[in-house]
């Protein structure tokens, strides 16, 4: 039995926006895998809920003419993981979606919730960060687009205005064409877990596969929000695909992340793992791009 005050079910984006305006304190519920937990643990007990679960227009993945991949925020992790457009163009996002929780959670949880929840440890954001994804936010005044990197304000807080709804996640063509990427989730067990550290890297190799033309890296759970590591990217950009480049890249990461110590584990451990994941994700991305690591 869940303690909520009211449930408003929106059938369209317009209706959802109207409901947002009419019920300023209400919470948006999509899959419910985060919201219901907070109601149960008392944090959001007695909340008003606006369900967007029924807005089918917000579900599914489309490849637009200009190469942009448009992901509906209500797309579940399991649909994302098996979607042919994602599988063909950005398989690394499917990999990330497949590592969320458990099959049951992947069936109900959505990519929109994964972002709007604002968690630094969510599985899809690091990959969306390295794909230079944008989020489309629709409100009374119409739609605006914001890079997902700027959408995160602080832990648990995203730049969603009181009347707004996340209506799309957009991955531009130039961000994935020619790139290969790899995502590593590091958790204390192999399923049903949240990242201790996560890392997504993608690379574009030169034609001869000997150099890194471009590289992007992002981390989860090592700061209040997911974060890119531009310094590390710069350290590897233009570099040869060698152990030395990998090492320079991985150690540069340490200056750009801010993990913490808590009961789960120590800052030193998180740093150690972040460095190790950075190296492994870069190596794997290079291998996927047809390159190899040389001494």
């Amino acid at each position: 039995m869940y303690d909520f005050k009211a449930l408003y079910e929106a059938k369209s984006v317009d209706e959802a926006v109207r409901l947002r305006r009419g019920h300023p304190g209400a919470r948006i519920i999509a899959g419910g895998s985060d919201v219901l937990i907070r109601i149960r643990n008392g944090k959001w007990a007695g909340a008003e809920l606006i369900s967007i679960h029924g807005i089918d227009a917000l579900r599914g993945v489309k490849l637009e003419d200009d190469g942009t991949i448009r992901i509906g925020p209500l797309t579940s992790f399991s649909h994302l993981a098996s979607d042919p457009v994602i599988g063909t163009h950005i398989p690394v996002l499917a990999e990330a979606a497949n590592q969320v929780g458990s099959p049951q959670i992947r069936n109900i949880g959505t990519i929109g919730g994964n972002i709007c929840n604002g968690s630094p440890a969510a599985d899809t954001p690091p990959t969306l960060f390295v794909l230079d994804a944008q989020v489309e936010l629709t409100g009374t005044e119409g739609a605006r687009r914001v890079p997902v990197r700027d959408f995160y304000i602080r832990a648990g807080v995203v730049d969603l205005k009181p009347d707004e709804l996340l209506t799309a996640v957009l991955v531009p063509g130039e961000a994935y064409r020619g790139y290969t990427g790899h995502y590593i989730k590091y958790a204390m067990r192999e399923a049903l877990d949240i990242s201790v550290v996560s890392c997504s890297v993608n690379v574009k190799l030169t034609e001869d596969k000997k150099r890194i033309e471009n590289v992007r890296a992002a981390f989860g759970a090592v700061g209040p929000v997911p974060l890119r590591t531009p310094g590390a990217e710069a350290a590897a950009r233009g570099g040869e695909t060698t152990e030395r480049t990998v090492k320079a890249f991985a150690s540069a990461v340490l200056g750009e992340i801010s993990p913490w110590s808590d009961w789960r584990t120590s800052k030193a451990f998180r740093e150690h793992i972040a460095e190790e994941l950075a190296a492994r994700a870069l190596i794997r991305s290079i291998e996927l791009g047809g390159g190899g690591i040389h001494a």
Binding site: M1, Y2, D3, G42, A45, G46, Y186, M188, R189, E190, A191, L192, D193, I194, V196, S261, W263, R264, T265, S266, K267, A268, F269, E271, H272, I273, E276
Partner: protein, 769 residues
């Protein structure tokens, strides 16, 4: 014959189709919902409550606090048989609600409401004022002079200290040429995590309390509820339906007394108390955390000169099973590797933490982590093969235990080790993994376990059984021993079918125990169900069979000595001819106009034996050193549990125990905030129970040496499968990396610390706390 065959579970179809009813399914929807107010300090006194806001919540029926408890009846919670000698009874230190808070989560008040939402809302609005005391979380800190004291009757928080002295330890260690091996070992507080949380409901009918509870020990619940409420035991009726696991947590009397008391405070109205998972972790029972110090003095030839153990068992805030767990640890240490000169001390100590009780293995998983890690260290110090060292020193065939009056009648250890090693290719892999470099390394390791089943001679061992014939030749079978998911009802049915001589489909087991009608039994614990119930099933079955054959003698005019019952029919032994089917016989007897008789039998078996059950685990791991991760590649357990009544269920039982052992070894620990004493990971996300993805394929092997004291050659199997898994994994990690883990679990943070200290990783960087 059914014994020895993989008969399908009698409850399989009901359970997989969802027809089986559990406590919550049975509770009427009109029930009031009870929720407990738990203390948010670790040690202190409740000064007052402010209930004004909470009482205003619509749907709240009544809020009861520790100050409403007019009569204070202290009670003990372990699901043990009653002990006639008051001096030998379990410590009685609990009240249904307490104003003295001894751990974060102690039960100080309760809300009774019309529905869950109202109960929850009221809970959040209750304000409590405390007088706070300092608290102590560490078992050795708690023993120090000046440490916060939990119970006035137990100075230095020591619930009990016992020692064992054999030979002359001090003299023995002066022998020249001895090698000393010493180590400290630690295991964490953990929880059972049975799938069905503890739940019970109570209502009053005809001035009696009717309780339905998810318990392993219904008859003990009846007695303890009587004690806790100060009312006659006969005024309490307890029903135990199907339960979703217990693993020892539900061998304690948990919230049945509180639920019954709340019911009485609201005029006998039906009250349901369903414990949320978060509270199950904190306010039910946990596995005792353990710290052990072992010193071994060994000769270069691989024999022991002297052995010493200091064991510290973390009892948490109340006595529950108390020192019994520590005593088992001490016995296991002493007997697994017998030695002439032994010095053993064990302390069970109160701390301001959740109450430790029974959990699958009852101390043996703790001591085996210490002992079997240590045994590998001895072998390494001597430069000997760890298995060869074990074989030389393990409890030998013919070993006699003076206290339990039992003799080891089979060479179980050697047989199990050989079988498990062969299953995993131990020798070949050990050789293969000898010289590894690089980040990914593999290893194999072995560990044995010692376990004594049942509770004799410490406690009463008794089992009662009732059988009644039906007109179609089928029979009802009733026992006080309980089905808790382990498959007891199925093996009971198999043993009954064989004893009486009926097809198993004709044995109708009454799964639920209702203390108003079920025969007396003490319930499921100590890996005793098959063994103990076997005795009463055999005794009762033979009585019933004799009665049937006597009736057959009259009806058929053939001496009962010449008759037998086979497959539900009376046969003539001489030629095997079928003379009459049981259905016809029962009808003739039951409706006889000259001497009608209901064919029933009932008896109690008083049991005065408790066999050892021994075995081992062999594991193979792959360690990713830089990622501080252990991946389990292969694992095999081998057990000597005597004759297997049902090999398929035995295998399932071993798989389940191995799975718990994997979590114990690699990931599970309940963590407490040092500043407040609050548990921080009391949920199934943060408490890392292992998942299927963390398991390799599990392999169970058996050697079947017939148990001479057992009615069907069988002995206990329920608990031991968990016991040797963690040390086998630890020894495999040592084989792979050369790093010895002393503290469980072998999870990434602990591996990180161990690998850093060993210089395998983080050579330049600090190791922070």
């Amino acid at each position: 014959m059914y014994v020895g065959k993989p008969v399908k579970r009698v409850d399989a179809f009901d359970k997989v189709t969802g027809r089986a009813r559990f406590t919550d399914d049975l509770c009427d929807k009109s029930a009031y919902i009870a929720r407990i107010v738990h203390s948010t300090i670790a040690h202190g006194k409740v000064v007052s409550f402010d209930l004004a806001e909470a009482r205003k919540v619509k749907g709240v029926v009544k809020i009861l606090t520790c100050f409403d408890l007019r009569e204070k009846h202290y009670f003990g919670t372990p699901g043990h048989p009653y002990v006639l000698d008051p001096a030998q009874r379990d410590v009685e230190d609990r009240l249904v609600l307490t104003d003295t808070v001894r751990f974060w989560g102690d039960d100080i008040a309760a809300v009774v409401a019309e529905n869950e939402v109202a109960a929850e809302q009221a809970l959040r609005l209750i304000k409590v004022q405390y007088e706070e005391y300092p608290f102590v979380l560490d078992v050795q800190e708690a023993m120090k002079d000046g440490a916060p004291q939990l119970h006035a009757a137990f100075p230095n928080n020591i619930l009990e200290h016992t020692g064992i002295r054999e030979g002359d330890y001090a003299k023995a260690i002066t022998e020249p040429g001895l090698i000393k091996v010493e180590g400290w070992y630690e295991t964490p507080t953990m929880q059972h995590c049975h799938i069905e949380n503890h739940i019970c409901y109570a209502e009053m009918k005809q001035n009696r309390i009717h309780l339905v509870s998810s318990t392993q020990v219904p008859h003990v619940v009846r007695r303890v509820v009587g004690q806790a409420l100060g009312i006659d035991w006969g005024r309490i009726r307890v029903v135990k339906p199907y339960i979703g696991g217990g693993f020892g947590n539900k061998q304690d009397i948990l919230y049945e007394p509180l639920c019954a008391w709340l019911c009485m405070q609201v005029g006998g109205h039906l009250v349901k108390l369903d414990v949320p998972r978060e509270e199950t972790f904190v306010c039910n029972r946990v596995r005792h955390g353990f710290r052990g110090h072992i010193i071994s003095w060994v000769r270069p030839d691989g024999t022991f000169a002297a052995r010493k153990l200091e064991a510290f068992s973390d009892q948490g805030a109340y006595a529950s099973h108390g020192h019994a767990i520590c005593a088992v640890e001490m016995a296991a240490f002493r007997q697994t590797y017998p030695c002439e000169n032994v010095e053993i001390d064990g302390w069970t100590v109160f701390t301001n933490k959740p109450v430790a009780g029974a959990m699958r293995g009852y101390g043996v998983p703790q001591i085996m982590w210490a002992l079997e890690s240590h045994t590998d260290e001895i072998a390494a110090a001597l430069g000997q093969d760890p298995i060869a060292f074990r074989r030389r020193n393990l409890m030998p065939l013919g070993y006699y235990d003076m206290f339990g009056h039992r003799k080891l009648a089979a060479d179980s250890y050697n047989q199990c080790l050989s079988k498990a090693m062969e299953a995993i290719g131990y020798d070949r892999k050990r050789e293969m993994y000898r010289h590894q470099t690089g980040n990914i390394r593999r290893g194999t390791g072995a560990a044995v376990f010692w376990f004594d089943t049942g509770t004799w001679p410490f406690l009463l061992e008794t089992s009662s059984c009732r059988m009644a014939m039906n007109q179609d030749g089928s029979m009802q079978l009733q026992l006080g021993e309980t089905e808790i998911g382990q498959g007891a009802d199925t093996v009971f049915s198999q043993m009954a079918a064989d004893t009486v001589g009926v097809p198993i489909e004709k044995v109708h087991i009454v799964s639920a125990q209702d203390t108003d009608v079920a025969p007396f039994g003490t319930g499921a614990y100590g890996s005793r169900q098959t063994y103990s119930a076997g005795h009463s099933i055999r005794k009762t079955g033979l009585q019933l069979k004799q009665k049937i054959l006597e009736k057959a003698e009259k009806l058929l005019q053939i001496s009962s000595a010449d008759l037998n019952i086979v497959d539900g029919e009376i046969i003539h032994i001489a030629d095997g001819a079928v003379l009459m089917d049981l259905g016809t016989l029962v009808k003739e007897v039951q409706y006889s106009r000259s001497g009608s008789c209901h064919l029933t039998a009932e008896s109690t078996a008083h049991i005065t034996a408790a066999p050892y059950t021994l075995g081992c685990t062999v594991a193979e791991v792959e360690v990713d050193i830089a990622l501080c991760k252990v991946r389990l590649l292969n694992i095999v357990n081998c057990h000597d549990a005597g004759v297997l009544i049902n090999p398929a269920l035995a295998e399932a039982q071993v798989h389940g125990g191995m799975s718990m052992g994997i979590g114990y070894g690699l990931s599970e620990k309940l963590v407490f905030d040092e500043k407040t004493g609050r548990p921080v990971n009391n949920n199934l996300l943060d408490y890392k129970l292992s998942t299927f993805m963390d398991h390799p394929s599990l392999r169970a092997e058996f050697v079947e040496n017939r148990e001479v004291t057992g009615p069907f050659g069988a002995k206990g199997l329920g608990e031991p499968p968990v016991a040797s898994v963690a040390p086998a994994i630890g020894n495999a990690v040592y084989c792979a990396t050369g790093v010895r883990l002393k503290k469980l679990p072998m999870d990434p943070p602990n591996l990180y610390q161990a690998f850093c200290e060993a210089g395998l990783i983080c050579d330049e960087r600090r190791v922070d706390a």
